[in-house]
């Protein structure tokens, strides 16, 4: 039994986006507001939501949310293991599986972030002793996500002759699209190639503009069967595939990741194959792509591993002209992405993928029928999904 065509995203909800630490509301309140907005968008009473799915140890527990929303039954609570933003599409896959299994009729996928209220992804932990896997890397000043992942990018660029201009093009596409998005944090702050080149290093070869922002806000997706979706308020975004996992040898973050037999990878080789097989589609069928920029180099690797180009074609494909809506070869991160719209650990990429199928994107790709999301690359597990207009 395949998931293809049986479940749809019927509602999307977002709060206002804030710079990190700027939200006037507590994280939990943001999360509730996003879920209620998703239900309202679909025309569904939030009390009908009986399934809850999130990822990366979201702090807003389903038990507290079910209580706060007054749902009629609390029937499913699923957490996608680990992986930072790698789990954003996996959380959709898990919610869809629960709906197909009959555990719930309506499930919500959500992420709430008030990074001023709590810790951040971008900061290393302040500990005195690091045992085990991380003990092989942290004492050497390899602490933050950028530092943990960047050497994969360096090695990939070395093996395939990838230029810095490819990384820059990913940043340029996000900033370009953000200028048309009234909700984007970086609207009114366009990026030029000169400004990118002149920006400071975070860790070579990543410039400041290669690394995601940190933000406050919340986003939610409401899912149900395609059958029920027919009667709801919005044009459904039908799930054609959703896959998660990774290379079984990919390891975690420390020594195990550094010793992965396949090191210079986004970890999407297995997951990309499964998603396209489920959908019965290939990269040539994708009209518009949202690809999680934790770091631009990860986007390049992930797109190569999804077959959007061969490694030796990277320098040619990755130009702003090719990546911008509406007319580029492959419009990428059309709301401004993690770099320039907002960093919601991937959920705002999925809401944008839905908008592209509804025809309501700030950078609409004409007649977009196949809309893909690639979640956070280089972590383990990773995940992706493919949405269709029917």
């Amino acid at each position: 039994m395949s998931i293809k065509g049986r479940v749809a995203i019927v509602g999307i909800g977002e709060t206002k986006w804030y710079k990190r630490g700027q939200s006037p509301d507590a994280e939990f309140k943001l999360c509730v507001a996003a879920i209620k907005a998703a239900a309202a968008d679909a025309g569904v009473d939030p009390r009908e939501i009986t399934g809850f799915s999130s990822y990366s140890e979201d702090r807003n527990t389903p038990a507290r949310l079910a209580n706060a929303l007054g749902v009629k039954d609390f029937a499913m609570s699923v957490m996608q293991w680990g992986g930072g933003g790698g789990g954003c599409c996996g959380a959709v896959a898990n919610a869809a599986a629960g709906i197909l299994a009959g555990y719930c009729d309506y499930a919500v996928v959500y992420r709430g972030l008030a990074q001023g209220q709590f810790g951040r992804f971008g900061q290393g932990a302040a500990l005195n002793v690091i045992p085990g896997d991380m003990g092989y890397v942290m004492p050497y000043g390899m602490l933050s996500p950028a530092q943990l992942f960047v050497m994969r990018i360096t090695r990939f660029m070395h093996e395939h002759g990838v230029n810095q201009s490819a990384l820059r093009a990913v940043a340029m596409a996000s900033y370009h699209h953000a200028q048309n998005n009234s909700r984007a944090i970086m609207r009114g702050k366009p990026l030029t190639e000169e400004a990118y080149d002149a920006s400071r290093w975070i860790t070579e070869p990543l410039h400041l503009y290669d690394c995601c922002q940190e933000n406050d806000g919340a986003a939610a997706l409401l899912l149900t069967t395609t059958e029920r979706a027919e009667k709801l308020a919005q044009k459904p975004a039908v799930l054609l595939a959703a896959a998660s996992g990774g290379d079984p040898r990919a390891g975690e973050f420390g020594a195990s990741a550094c010793n992965a037999p396949d090191y210079p990878t986004s970890n999407f080789k297995y997951v990309a194959r499964r998603a396209f097989a489920t959908a019965g589609l290939g990269p040539q069928d994708v009209d518009v792509l949202q690809c999680y920029e934790n770091f631009t180099g990860g986007v390049v690797m992930a797109m190569v591993e999804h077959g959007f180009c061969q490694p030796d074609e990277v320098n040619a494909l990755f130009t702003l002209a090719n990546l911008k809506a509406p007319s580029g070869r492959l419009p990428l991160n059309t709301s401004g992405g993690n770099l320039a719209e907002v960093y919601m650990h991937g959920l705002s990429l999925i809401t944008e993928a839905v908008r592209q199928l509804r025809g309501t994107s700030p950078n609409q790709v004409p007649n977009a029928k196949v809309s893909m999301v690639i979640g956070g690359p280089m972590v383990n597990p990773v995940s992706n999904l493919i949405l269709g207009s029917s």
Binding site: G132, M151, A255
Partner: protein, 148 residues
Amino acid sequence: MNATVLPPGLPRPAPSVEGLGQAFWEGATRHVLCLQRCQDCRTWQGAPELICRHCGSYRLGDEELADTRGVLYSWQRVWYPVHPALKDAVPYVVVLVALPQAPGVRLVGNLVNDPGGPLPIGAALEAVFEDHHNADAEYTLIQWRLMS
């Protein structure tokens, strides 16, 4: 005199609660590279585990390498310090080092002689054992020097 590549204040390494890595870090204090190796199929494991990932054997041992040279596999030069102890220590170079004597194994360390600019992937490195004498612990980090 600062004898270490990075200033004090970073977390120190330790074996896992299961004891994985104990021989490696003890070896470092004796200035040798001591790696986990399957006693049945002879596969090296750079990230130690309770089982051989290659053949499934539980018969794992620890073996010392005859020399301490490596090859530069990848690198980064860190300019933005994310830990308070590193505020005045940037830039510093982190290297990922392949060990030809132990195929498949890679170690992370710092480069003690950064020449600046892009670093030569594939270049030969030699291990530099960096002893730390802290009030609460003695340990040794394994750093790397570009051989000329």
